[in-house]
């Protein structure tokens, strides 16, 4: 035991070695990500069906979104993905400071994304674009209408972005925990699977947004219909 101590720190009893443990963890993470793909997949399926049923209504509804805010948020999320990748890089190199810097950067940009999202949601709230009894979508006369197909767009908008934001909030919580572990020096060159697997999760959340952005924000952008009221 003593001469293998360096390679068995953090090894669970039922694994033969750290390599098997790490590979198992990575594979488990990927299997989990598959479930995430299909979890969002149901929403994408509903989106595809209603988008094909109501293309015009979806265009009009989509034009209520602010492409600039969505674009900024896309960049913000890409930056956070980069910092996350750098944290994994630092972990591979055994740089404790690098890990912490990467995680903090990821947290800050992740939080920034949610702040922007908050303002977007607030705007929808003020303009009666929350699906439900108070939903009103302006018709040709500017009169708010209930129960239009545009409401379906917003139902999906909130379900998809809400589910995405929920994943980000969970990610931010885990990031805080990981920062503590990193400060304690829990991650070593041999044992950083947690950083790597969380990185997979974070990048996945980024990928979801990469698809949400064009589907939700951009489909109405060319139509020339008035954009989001400011």
């Amino acid at each position: 035991m003593s001469d293998h101590a360096h390679s068995t720190v953090g090894l669970a009893h039922h694994f033969d070695d750290l390599e098997q443990q790490k590979e198992s963890g990575t594979l488990g993470m990927w299997a989990f990500l598959i479930t995430e793909v299909l979890f969002f997949g149901g929403l994408f399926g509903a989106y595809a069906v209603y988008r094909s049923s109501y293309p015009d209504a979806f265009m009009r509804a989509s034009a209520q979104l602010d492409v600039n805010l969505g674009g900024i948020n896309t960049i913000v999320l890409i930056v956070s993905s980069l910092t996350m990748a750098l944290a994994v890089y630092a972990a591979q190199k055994g740089s404790k400071g690098g890990i912490i810097a990467g995680l903090v950067g990821t947290w800050v940009f992740g939080a920034a994304f949610l702040v922007v999202k908050y303002f977007e949601y607030k705007h929808k709230w003020e303009h009666h674009l929350i699906p439900g009894p108070n939903f009103l979508f302006p018709d040709a006369h500017g009169v708010g209408q209930h129960g239009t197909p545009e409401q379906l767009y917003f139902a999906l908008y909130f379900a998809m972005t809400g589910m995405h934001a929920f994943h980000m909030i969970i990610g931010l919580v885990i990031l805080v925990w990981m920062m503590k572990k990193a400060r304690r020096g829990d991650f070593t060159v041999h044992n950083y699977a947690l950083v790597e697997n969380f990185g997979l999760y974070w990048h996945f959340v980024d990928i979801v947004w990469i698809f949400l952005f064009p589907l939700l924000y951009l489909i109405g952008a060319h139509s020339g219909t008035p954009g989001a009221p400011h």
Binding site: D56, M59, R60, D139, A140, H141, Q145, T148, P149
Partner: protein, 324 residues
């Protein structure tokens, strides 16, 4: 007791016998394989029992030839079943062109039906023998399913859209009508009877049915009463497209897509006018009639629009392709 136990419901439509024939084919195939497997199990179990003298197990890895055989034969049989079933399904799905048009509306927990000549009945349907009948169906609340075992057909009745079924009865009598899709507390009481009458008796029945107007006439009345006609007319600068002779044709939308003007589209346009607006007209100008018209009214309007087209086409044969 067993003599009284029928194994299939009466065959009372033209498609009942073909369905039973297909059923018997599948029963025969299934019985053959179930018996084959059972017999093999019994024989092997008896012949190769462990306590037989000098019992040993042979080392057998398998047999690719056998695998091919018992993959190929079931595959061939299921393909026959699939093809046969598909052909039958399309026959069940595609009504003859000369069918009588009934409309059916399901609601918790009753079936409302209307005859082409306007007579209405609840939980009953009287139809003439030997005439194809087409049912255009929708629901006012949840999903129901119109099921007539003696005709070997059923179709879900879905709120928000039209589904369709047809049959041609070929035996006089009264047959069960069930709701087959679970629809709430009194699902099992959403039942009724379909009565097949001779054509003469059907005429008599219709005469006693007390109808004041046909669906098309009702639709014409509604077309004015709901003020559809104030926008949908053929005057220059009309705010909505002229609807005469349009049913069954294609329309160009503001989005550039084309849509077939059929029952579904008319229905959607009444309830969600902004969803698919015809090119050249303002999106969102027409108010929604959601909540102001009942399913029966919409069906009547559709019936009217069909005749509206046909009347115009008959009047001016030069543009006769407007109505199909």
């Amino acid at each position: 007791m067993w003599k009284d136990l029928p194994l299939h419901p009466e065959q009372a439509s033209t498609l009942a016998q073909p369905v039973d024939l297909l059923y018997l084919f599948l029963v025969a195939v299934s019985a053959f394989f179930a018996l084959l497997i059972s017999v093999l199990i019994v024989v092997f179990t008896a012949k190769y029992r462990k306590d037989r003298p000098n019992a040993t197990s042979a080392h057998i890895e398998g047999s690719t030839l056998l695998e091919i055989v018992w993959t190929g034969i079931p595959l061939g049989l299921t393909m026959i079943m699939f093809g046969w079933g598909a052909v039958l399904f399309f026959q069940q799905a595609r009504p003859p062109a000369n069918a009588l048009e009934f409309t059916v509306t399901g609601k918790q927990w009753m079936w409302k039906a209307q005859h082409p000549t306007g007579q209405r009945e609840i939980n009953d349907l009287h139809i003439p023998i030997g005439v194809p009948c087409r049912l255009t169906m929708t629901s006012e609340d949840v999903i129901h399913s119109y099921f007539i075992p003696a005709f070997r057909t059923k179709q879900d009745v879905v709120p928000g859209r039209y589904s369709q079924m047809w049959f041609e009865a070929n035996k006089l009598g009264t047959y069960d009508l069930f709701c087959a899709e679970y629809c709430g507390t009194k699902h099992s009481q959403m039942i009724g009877k379909v009565t097949v009458l001779s054509q003469k008796d059907y005429e008599v029945w219709l005469a006693g049915g007390g109808s004041s107007e046909t669906p098309a006439q009702a639709g014409e009345r509604l077309f004015s009463a709901l003020r559809c006609i104030t926008c949908h007319n053929n005057t220059a600068g009309a705010r909505g497209p002229d609807l005469a002779g349009k049913f069954g044709t294609e329309a160009l939308l503001t989005s550039g897509a084309k849509v077939m003007i059929d029952a579904e589209y008319v229905r959607e346009s009444i309830l969600n006018p902004a969803a698919k607006t015809v090119n050249g007209f303002q999106v969102g100008l027409m108010p929604t009639y959601q909540g102001q018209v009942k399913e029966d009214d919409i069906l009547a309007l559709i019936a009217y629009l069909k005749t509206f087209g046909a009347a115009k086409a008959a009047a001016s044969p030069a543009t006769g392709n407007a109505a199909k």
